[in-house]
């Protein structure tokens, strides 16, 4: 692949945030038709590097050179406009879409003279052509707010292709995709690369990286830790390079299921004007992990809302420790010893502008542990936080640091510390490792397994089948608001589950009632 011309070249890029060196003299070349994977732990500097490349951030040192008509030329720093013009397209880690506009409008944005009537017809024709060539099928006229994450991502990629990008940067594109969607994305990327596009692909999922990339660049702590040709690389080597030391395997002992702690009995749920769940039955038993697979939007959020105490069944009964739950109250669930990890940890999990200590105490501020007669016991809160920081390896400046300054992985560890320290009897782990690096992922898995071994009943909701295989004792699949029966995970294969997620197969013999 290195025989094709260099499309893009970064030379000695350095970026500091105050005392922190986010990128330290990083250089890289990207060739035509090449898929380059960028790997690194959370906070290694991947997003920062890409933000510099695209002009969102201004580097302190170094240059971004892009192939133009007259050979490689430096881009003016800090100008997304210039980067776009030079043929760089970026799909951000957090989508940059105007949700009140249609997909087509988002694609057109900024491509036509502002003071004109625009050329919607031409634009539509061009996007249709690109869709036909790339296979990125999506309804262009729906409001982005109404699209699924997968569709939003396709819009993001179409945005880049519409501008005739030579280089496409994807920052953790699969973090929010289902396995099927991710697979679809890889097909598209391979096709685009074959047509000469250069792709930089950031991911924490080593399997994907190995499957799709030609070359791998690993960052660690802001510096380049190494560069590998994918064909010669293996999982272990990459993981060790990322973390700087060997990553320990998570070991799992067989489960010893006990009594049923949480039970859904013919539960239906209406939410947001539609039927989210219909006639769902499920038992969570002590000392057992149930893995819930499914394409997002099929009812997972309904189940999560019920177990979080945010909703009660419209019909049917939900029993906690044998007693029917009548009213929705997150508080009651917390008090009853249910640990809940929200799907969207930044949005529902932490109050970004409050401190780590506050966020760890938030479920419990009214308990005597943290307050007396309505007055906060700051000392106790801070002590608990310090213990959590040490015990769960939450990387942050200290208990008083604002939670917004933590990376996603560390926010997740903070939430783990908050909910697991209360020794919960029931645990809801909703997308527990989304976007986390391998090291952090292993840590979270270890904690969840430890809780199970202690006797907790756990429901893991995940779109990452690897994760479910690593954790679940039993498997259920949700499709269109209905649950399959929960069967043991031994002997299951991905293909069957994939088909069930797509609603195309009945449970095989392995998952029997």
């Amino acid at each position: 692949m290195t025989d094709t011309p260099v499309l893009l070249s970064l030379t000695n890029i350095t970026k500091r945030f105050g005392p922190l060196i986010a990128n330290n003299a990083i250089s890289l070349d990207l060739h035509r038709g090449e898929i380059l994977a960028l790997l690194g732990e959370n906070g290694a500097g991947k997003t920062t590097l890409m933000n510099i490349l695209f002009g969102h951030y201004v580097q302190d040192e170094g240059d971004v050179l892009v192939l133009g008509d007259g050979g490689l030329a430096a881009l003016p720093p800090g100008s997304p406009g210039a980067a776009l013009k030079a043929g760089i397209g970026m799909v951000h880690q957090h989508f940059t879409l105007a949700e009140n506009l249609s997909g087509l409008a988002n694609i057109r944005l900024g491509t036509e003279p502002l003071l004109s009537f625009g050329r919607e017809g031409d634009a539509r024709a061009k996007v249709k052509r690109i869709i036909a060539e790339s296979g990125l099928d999506v309804d262009l006229d729906r409001r982005v707010a109404d699209l699924t994450v997968g569709e939003k991502q396709r819009i993001e990629i179409l945005k880049a292709l519409y501008r005739d990008a030579k280089v496409l940067i994807l920052d953790e594109p699969t973090a929010v995709l289902t396995p099927q969607e991710a697979e679809g994305l890889f097909v598209v990327l391979r096709r685009l690369a074959a047509n000469g596009l250069g792709v930089i692909f950031i991911s924490h999922k080593l399997g994907e990286v190995l499957a799709v990339s030609h070359r791998i660049l690993v960052l660690r702590g802001g510096t380049k830790a190494g560069e590998l040709v994918t064909a010669d690389a293996d999982r272990r080597a990459i993981a060790d390079l990322m973390v700087g030391k060997a990553v320990a395997e998570v070991v799992r002992i067989p489960a010893l299921p006990g009594e049923t702690l949480l039970e859904f009995d013919g539960v239906s749920l209406h939410a947001g004007g539609r039927q989210a769940l219909s006639g769902v039955s499920l038992k969570l038993r002590a000392g057992e992990i149930v893995g819930l697979a499914g394409v997002s939007g099929n009812g997972q959020s309904g189940i999560a809302a019920l177990i979080s105490g945010l909703a009660v069944p419209t019909s049917g009964t939900m029993r906690l420790y044998g007693e029917a739950v009548a009213k929705a109250s997150p508080r009651d669930f917390v008090m009853a010893g249910v640990a809940r990890m929200p799907e969207d940890r930044q949005h529902d999990g932490v109050v970004g502008t409050m401190s780590v200590a506050d966020n760890i105490a938030i479920e419990d501020v009214r308990s005597p542990a943290f307050s007396k007669m309505g007055l906060l016991d700051r000392k106790a809160m801070r002590e608990r936080a310090s213990a959590a920081i040490a015990g769960y390896d939450v990387r942050c400046p200290g208990p008083d640091a604002e939670a917004r300054l933590l990376s996603g992985g560390n926010v997740q560890k903070l939430i783990l510390a908050r909910v697991l320290e209360r020794e919960p009897r029931v645990i809801l782990a909703n997308q527990p490792t989304r976007g986390l690096d391998v090291g952090a992922q292993a840590e979270v898995h270890r904690r969840i397994l430890a809780a199970r071994d202690r006797g907790a009943a756990v429901l893991v909701i995940s779109e990452d089948l690897d994760e479910l295989f690593a954790l679940a004792d039993r498997f259920v699949v949700v499709h269109a608001g209905e649950l399959s029966d929960a069967g043991p995970s031994e002997g299951l294969d991905r293909g069957t589950i994939g088909l069930m997620m797509a609603g195309q197969a009945r449970p095989p013999v392995g998952i029997a009632s």
Binding site: G18, V58, D63, A73, A74, P76, P77, S308, G309, L310, S329, P330, R331, F333, V334, M335, R340, P342, H347, D348, G349, V350, V351, G352, T353, M354, D358, I362, E363, V365, R366, S371, G374, L375, L376, R378
Partner: protein, 357 residues
Amino acid sequence: MSFRLEPREHASVGLKLTVSLAAGIVALLLVAIPVLSAGGSPIEAYGLMVQGAFGSMFALSETLNRATPLILTGLACAVAFRAKLWNIGAEGQLYIGALAAVCVGSGLLQLPPALMIPTVMIAGFLAGGLMMVIPTIIKQRFGADEVVITLLLNFVVILFIQMLVEGVLKDPLSMGWPQSVPLIAEAKLPKLLPRLRMHWGLIVGVVAALILWLMVRKTVLGFEIRAVGENKAAARFAGIPVDATMLKVALISGGLAGLAGVGEVAGVKGYLSADLSPGFGYSGIVVAMLAGLSPIGTVISAVFVAAVFVGADSMSRATGISSYIADLVVALSLLCVLVGSFFLRFRVKFERRQVGA
């Protein structure tokens, strides 16, 4: 040469002082423009402003007297804004608080001052609070924006007050002038010093600020308010009763504005009329935001805003410049302090860097 902004984690006390001073100096320089355009001497005007605000016991009393309602409406806004409850209706709540004070304090109850004054204040607090609880419930039930509802309610309330003071509450001894029956002597807030308008409302305001400060920093309620204000979804998920917390905030916020109204009728005016407040409710927003929503800061910024107004107004009389200059000076000072707050949040870094070097 380009510049970029770096956020500051913390602003030192020294920096805060420097910035406040600089903002003050810039404001003074700007004030020179209208003063000169009206043919006055800026230097003289500055001196007269300081004198008018602080130059005598009388001036000081007037400044503090004007600061009193501003402290309370400022606190009303500060506590609500912390919870992201955008209460723009402090003006109306002030009037409703004053109305409640008149209802219970003009003879309906006959109690000694030690009981009467607290009764009047509680009535004003509850009435003002209710006036904010209603839009909050509307917001929770129907999703209607509280900014707009509270804003519109200000107009409704003032008309309602006009109706009452021309109607059922009208003082038969007022010779037809639309004003309410007066408070009885027992219900009036005592003056702090004889012959000066400064009254006990000031103490109420300062104590309220201290209580709020304690509440924000030390209490579970303060914690929950912060959480709800900063991230409602996360607060709800963590089991904080969001709606109930909002209602408590609404009650406190409206209640404080109501207390401001009580102070004006019971401490200054003695009766209710539709011109009780020259916009204290709206100024409260400014006072609270200048203080960065800090309760103690609110006291300081209320005194600042009051001093600027009283000083500039007095200066206009001493120099013969149009009295509209007082509001102009307040506006300029406000904007300068606002710009100053920018430098507390960001460090401006100038840098030279070549492209493609």
